[in-house]
Symmetry: C2
Subunit: 135 residues, 2 copies
DNA sequence: GTTTTGTACTTGTTTTTTGCAAGTTGTTGG
DNA sequence: CCAACAACTTGCAAAAAACAAGTACAAAAC
């Protein structure tokens, strides 16, 4: 580690252009399989995806599971540590909503709109849903 | 841009290991000069610092000013767009506070403690102070 | 039951970014 | 005048990312 600063601690773990996008896919787009992450809009390359999934699992943000029906499939899901990144992701979203102008998807309002109305409640509701889906 | 997702928008601008640390130095450590950023705990290298300062200015997160007394010195300060990254930085800090265990500086509690007590008020107070110092 | 497809990767190569050391240009205090 | 300072720039080696292709094994199709 480069320092004992809390911000730096987080940045060393997920301060790059890809890691939080994988978490987002798990949180908001209900993606669970390798191929689903691969086909996201940002077009992550396969070696980077494999690398980040391994790192995320190693640090305990996500965990791997077996699929009952399809033995060859591996199911990825969030841990509590991963779910707790929700406020970080939401704040980045809110900042972008303020400064990106009309460059963003119109669908953003579904989530961000509620956050602007009542942040604490909207966060709590979303976190509960994530816990039910993932833990 | 890789996509029209709000999270991705933010990550393209400050999704790396260094950019937010410079913003942090401006926000919490009252750093204003090139050499001050250079001497932070994380030891950024000089070419990366120059590159990030140029990017941050280009995107309107910070602005360059002249120092009255010392003509050779350049003063960096935050814009409103930069100040609005405060919640993002705080959320990363709160997350780290929860998961880093005892790896973090004890000084963290000065800021993070108040955030846990009354987030909205603490954020508003800090933002006001930043506006007075920078704008 | 054998070929084909699907899924989760790995490997190799090129390009880009980072990290490190040193050099450059104008400033200023003595 | 001159050494130290401040804000960079430049050059090069190392690491990481992007791109293209290949592999191993399960399952579906024929």
């Amino acid at each position: 580690m480069r320092s004992d600063c809390p911000l730096n601690f987080g940045l060393e773990l997920f301060g790059d252009k890809w890691t939080l996008l994988i978490i987002r896919d798990l949180m908001f787009f209900n993606k669970r399989y390798y191929n689903e992450f691969l086909s996201s809009a940002e077009k992550i390359s396969t070696n980077i995806l494999a690398d980040r999934l391994a790192l995320l699992e190693k640090q305990g943000f996500i965990c791997k599971g077996k699929d009952k029906e399809h033995k060859q499939k591996i199911v990825y899901s969030l841990t509590g540590k991963g779910i707790d990144l929700l406020p970080v992701i939401i704040e980045i979203g809110l900042w972008s909503d303020k400064y990106a102008g009309d460059l963003l998807s119109p669908h953003k309002e579904v989530i961000l709109g509620r956050m602007k109305q009542d942040r604490e409640k909207a966060l709590a509701t979303l976190k509960e849903k994530l816990k039910q889906k993932h833990l």
